[in-house]
């Protein structure tokens, strides 16, 4: 054994990760070649294709569910990094700058750290409830993603009661917070759980009432339909017809997501992170994953309801057509024949050399290798840009996804900005604001909208 263990011990950490991966890749390649040679894999592919074709709705649902589950991880990482960096900027600090360029890998490292920590269960907790609480919180956040329309055709399930489903499932996270708070056997946790219950129930009323105006204007509760109704220029967005509704909804959404200035449920400076006090390791991580995913989801919902979802602010196509810039997207690569092979083989080399040439000629102090690396990176950037442009022109969903994500991250930024700027409110201010200001304002908005809808109908 020692003949094997000694070289292993000399490897660096990266080597210990890469070596098994290389072995795995070689083994998989061999298996694949064997499968293709014996005809097993083509048969399996055909069988799988027919299976997928016959059960399209089920397959679609499974794919959508897996996709939203997978997309929560990078989303949470990006938002955590954004928050660290922006709050550092607001505080006049540098923020994370050690791991990766400009610290971009910091939140990944946080994820690994949380995974590697001991998963500790304190004495006296109610074990099943304590274990299930993070799961409930995380799933309630993830399941709401299922009805969010990302782009034309890119929606998990297009329900006609999508909005109600959203609020119903999203409201379940308070159950998880209560479970965590109670089962932790700790008075700070219990206070956090109770605060969560009081806060979420109080703010659910203005949250839902603030949207009723949009539902009345749209005449539907399907989020996809609501987006379709806002097509056109940015003047068709519901925020211009429902400014008060948007304000109410935004404030209530901040409270619903337990974000500053309404983050009394965790309030680390007064009740030491509240419901999460007794949690450690990945269970603690799940709570915070859920929080950042919820920030993304609430921003996405604001975008969908009030800011036109995946609709572009201005439809540029008529302008482009007028200028004679309309592009024929029917590219047929098969037409190139053997030229395609040459393009694939020589294109990167020639492109890299061509892009490296000016650097090598203009900077006498740069070595050939350095200018080659820079040329290679530039070539990659150019190709990525070209592919992105091609996709954007050919597929409506790519442009839609771009606009949806861009608008959503604007609101994510506002959430982060508020956390960096505003002080936390007191619990009585929180409750008083919900019941004395937001709720009457939401009712007023409801009546004014109803009146406007009736008046407009009568005039027509």
């Amino acid at each position: 054994m020692s003949a094997l263990t000694r070289p292993w011990g000399h490897l660096t950490l990266a080597g210990k990760i890469i070596l098994p991966l290389v072995g795995l890749v070689i083994a998989l390649t061999l298996l694949l070649l064997l499968g293709v040679a014996t005809g097993v894999i083509p048969a399996l592919v055909l069988f799988g294709g027919s299976l997928v074709g016959a059960n399209l709705p089920i397959v679609r649902f499974i794919v959508a569910a897996s996709a939203i589950l997978l997309m929560t991880v990078p989303t949470a990482f990006v938002i955590i990094y954004m928050e660290m960096k922006f709050i550092a900027f607001i505080n006049m600090r540098l923020g994370p700058n050690r791991i990766g360029p400009w610290g971009t890998l910091q939140s990944t490292i946080h994820g690994f750290k949380v995974l590697a920590k001991e998963d500790f269960t304190p004495t006296g907790v109610d074990v099943p409830v304590f274990t299930l609480a993070p799961v409930v919180v995380y799933l309630s956040a993830v399941m709401t993603l299922l009805v969010l329309p990302f782009a034309p055709g890119l929606v998990g399930v297009d329900m006609n009661i999508g909005l109600l489903y959203f609020f119903g499932i999203g409201g379940l996270n308070v159950v998880g917070l209560l479970m965590a708070g109670w089962s932790s056997f700790n008075k700070y946790s219990l206070i956090g759980g109770l605060r969560a219950a009081a806060q979420v129930i109080s703010y659910e009323l203005p949250l839902t009432l603030g949207v009723v105006g949009v539902i009345m204007l749209a005449g539907t509760m399907s989020l996809n339909q609501i987006v379709l109704l806002q097509a056109g220029s940015f003047l068709d967005w519901f925020v211009f017809q429902q400014p008060l509704g948007f304000l109410i909804f935004f404030i209530a959404a901040v409270a619903e997501g337990n974000r500053a200035p309404f983050d009394l449920t965790e309030a680390d400076s007064e009740i030491v992170a509240g419901f999460a006090t007794e949690y450690s390791g990945m269970r603690f991580g799940f709570f915070f994953f859920a929080e950042y995913v919820a920030v993304f989801i609430l921003s996405g919902l604001i975008t969908v309801l009030f800011f036109g979802g995946w609709n572009a602010p201005l439809d540029l196509n008529p302008l482009l057509n007028w200028a004679g810039l309309s592009v024929n997207t029917g590219l047929d690569f098969g037409r190139l024949g053997v030229g395609l092979l040459f393009l694939i083989a020589l294109g990167p080399v020639v492109g890299t050399l061509l892009l490296a040439l000016p650097f090598w000629m203009l900077r006498s102090d740069w070595s050939v290798l350095k200018s080659l690396v820079i040329g290679f990176l530039l070539f990659n950037l150019l190709i990525m840009g070209a592919v992105g442009l091609y996709l954007a022109i050919s597929f409506e969903a790519v442009v839609g996804l771009f606009w949806f994500i861009a608008k959503t991250y604007v609101f994510v930024f506002v959430f982060v900005w508020m956390r960096g700027t505003l002080p936390r409110v007191r619990i009585d201010q929180l409750m008083g604001f919900a019941w004395k200001w937001l709720l009457p304002a939401a009712l007023l908005n409801l009546f004014v909208t109803a009146l406007a809808v009736i008046t407009v109908d009568a005039i027509r």
Binding site: L51, N55, D126, L164, V175
Partner: protein, 205 residues
């Protein structure tokens, strides 16, 4: 190759299988609500019970009612019940639940109700609905609620409002001076939640 029309080996429709699943979950969780010794766990089982009921509503073609069930019964009512229990439970409170003192009476009452339900169900003819299930019942429900049955709806609203006002009145009533054990601090009077009592449960090894 698609999924078979019926459940393999059993010959039931898939809907029936789902119904059995949800009905079983409903009965099981309902039983867990009343036989548990821990009142918070009973509340959590009640949430599962409501969830199973929402599943049944979806199966019956009423997704709107299912969503309302999740939104109101789970998201608001159960959470309020749990909230109240967590606030009021204290070490001096009763360890055993009310059900445990009245187990025999409760069992007899349950048996009686069960027999009654069985007799009624067996004695009623259940005709199939004539009209097909509508895919979007939201508008029809709205028309029924706000046009045909608007008066009963308003009466129920007034009743609920009266109940809310009565609850606030009872909770805010001035106490007798000898009953007040802890002198109320003026600054804290507006805080909605008094300090919750923790340490209600025994430490389980």
């Amino acid at each position: 190759m698609s999924l078979p029309e019926t459940v393999p080996f059993l010959g039931w429709a898939w809907d029936d299988l789902l119904f059995l699943f949800f009905a079983g979950a409903l009965l099981g969780t309902g039983l867990m609500v009343v036989i548990g010794r821990n009142i918070i766990r009973s509340g959590l089982w009640m949430i599962c019970c409501f969830g199973a009921l929402a599943g049944l509503y979806v199966l019956l073609g009423a997704p709107l009612i299912a969503a309302a069930q999740v939104l109101i019964y789970i998201g608001a009512i159960s959470v309020l019940v749990l909230f109240a229990v967590m606030l009021t439970q204290s070490k001096s409170g009763p360890v055993g639940l009310v059900f445990h003192h009245q187990a025999w009476a409760g069992a007899l009452a349950a048996l009686g109700i069960g027999i009654l339900v069985a007799v009624v169900v067996a004695g009623t003819a259940w005709p199939l609905a004539e009209t097909a299930r509508t895919p979007s019942p939201t508008e029809e429900l709205a028309l029924l609620l706000f046009r045909d049955y608007v008066l009963p709806l308003e009466v129920v609203s007034v009743l609920l409002l009266a109940a809310v006002i009565g609850g606030v009145f009872l909770a805010k009533r001035e106490r007798e001076p000898e009953e007040t054990i802890v002198p109320a601090e003026p600054a804290r009077e507006r805080m909605p939640a008094p300090a919750p009592a923790v340490g209600t449960r025994e430490l389980t090894p």
